[in-house]
Subunit: 272 residues, 2 copies
């Protein structure tokens, strides 16, 4: 079954996702590295935003990165080639119909993917089946419901809600970050540990003001303007007021908060 | 001027505040300690929940702990005496009419106080005036708008909103945590650094499920039931459904998130 995606398939969008990955690399990935020789499946690599970081941090691990979109896979390959990486092979594949043998990977990495799926637990259970006993699965998701800011603004909250609603209409869940723990447990992972990664932005952190509040989060919301209007979820004036208020939080007295959730679990030693 | 408080003035409430302090001590206070001989003003000590931790962690500092309520001060003294502490003196005093000379303290500590004040910046500016140049101010506040959970529930959100609304009606602001940075900057503090302290609770952390989700946060919301009904903000059935859904987040597949904000700033070397 093919899942419907909300974002990640247009050139400007690709640039935004690369920016986002740059700003968030330390926060999300600094504690992820894989031993020499281990086989790692990156499920849902998109345009390779995380792939470069993963492969650079674990140069002696061997990555297989898949995505349901052949275009994304091609772009991801271009990006990793440009970075001089030789430890990643790419393949177009659907998480729900993967061409791999059971227990054929040491580790699985899934980042910003479950949010797009109608059946996230089933996806995780399938991926768990590909792990050797004792292997690990890492899952990272954001949660738009973790967004709050100063000055507070009903318009801005409504603009964010447009993105949540569009993602819901496409079968996904933009509020899935908080569910990483129960989803991984339900999918059969053992020893699941989830750690929140909060992005806190005030004007003493200008890199985040620009790199996260403006260019990552607000740019993402701005990017659904046309879709939200066409879907009848909002009107141009209301949406634009919300986006304006999101940019307002990037001013000197503004504050912006968002949280990602990172879960790591183990494939049990007994058959699931 | 006397400020109106929403909580902290009943025996069961005191117990809840002590429980809360126990659970959160490491998260909020592990990085606060004061040098030998330094004079520290704790402004708004309430029933002493934080005072014990502060004084124990800095046994050679000398604390002056004040609160606008004489009853709270008496209870705080009882608690610190019971803990065998001898480095705290208590005084009933109003932040807006303090009996201390300018620049007479090395450090000021303000925890869960601004949320109750109608003029938080003015309060911080007054406290800044009591700091010697080069001294530090530490401010800690929660933010009810940082609350989200799984399973999500409109009823639970509305029950929380009752507390926010009651605090607003009393002149306070239950969403003030996110504003710690701009408030401290506006009050004239230099080199302000704010760090969020997120409480993330899932069933792999049973101490927090019990100590935070149930006995701190949900108990606090439950505690405003009568006031919220009397104020006409909610009805018994709706409120009780919300509280039930908050307790639901403490079950095996539940998740609960809340964030405190801790700011530390310096009194500038030049006159403010």
């Amino acid at each position: 079954m093919t899942e419907t995606y909300v974002h990640g398939y247009h050139p400007r969008e690709n640039e935004r996702l690369q920016d986002q990955a740059g700003t968030l690399v330390e926060l999300l990935h600094s504690d992820t590295s894989y031993p020499s020789g281990s086989l790692v499946l990156e499920a849902g690599c998109g345009v390779g935003a995380q792939t470069v970081t993963l492969a650079q941090r674990s140069p002696a691990a061997r990555f297989t990165s898949i995505d349901v979109s052949a275009d994304s896979v091609a772009e991801a390959k271009r990006v990793t080639d440009a970075a001089g990486l030789t430890n990643v092979r790419f393949q177009q594949a659907d998480i729900f119909a993967l061409p791999f043998a059971p227990e054929s990977f040491d580790h699985v990495f899934v980042c910003f993917v479950l949010e797009h799926l109608t059946r996230p637990v089933e996806a995780l259970a399938i991926l768990n089946g590909l792990l050797r006993p004792g292997g690990t699965m890492t899952v990272i998701e954001g949660d738009h419901g973790s967004t709050y800011f100063h000055p507070d603004s009903v318009s801005a909250q409504m603009a964010i809600q447009c993105q949540v609603e569009l993602q819901r209409l496409a079968g996904g869940n933009a509020l899935i970050g908080r569910q990483v723990y129960p989803l991984m447990v339900e999918a059969g992972l053992d020893a699941v540990h989830v750690s929140p990664r909060m992005v806190y932005v005030d004007s003493s952190r200008p890199d985040l003001v620009d790199g996260f509040t403006r260019k990552t989060f607000t740019a993402m919301i701005e990017g659904v303007r046309q879709s939200a209007i066409e879907a009848g979820i909002t009107e141009p004036g209301a949406f634009d007021a919300g986006v304006r208020d999101l940019y307002r939080t990037a001013e000197t007295d503004g504050v912006f908060c968002y949280t990602f959730f990172k879960g790591v679990g183990e494939k049990g030693r007994k058959p699931a």
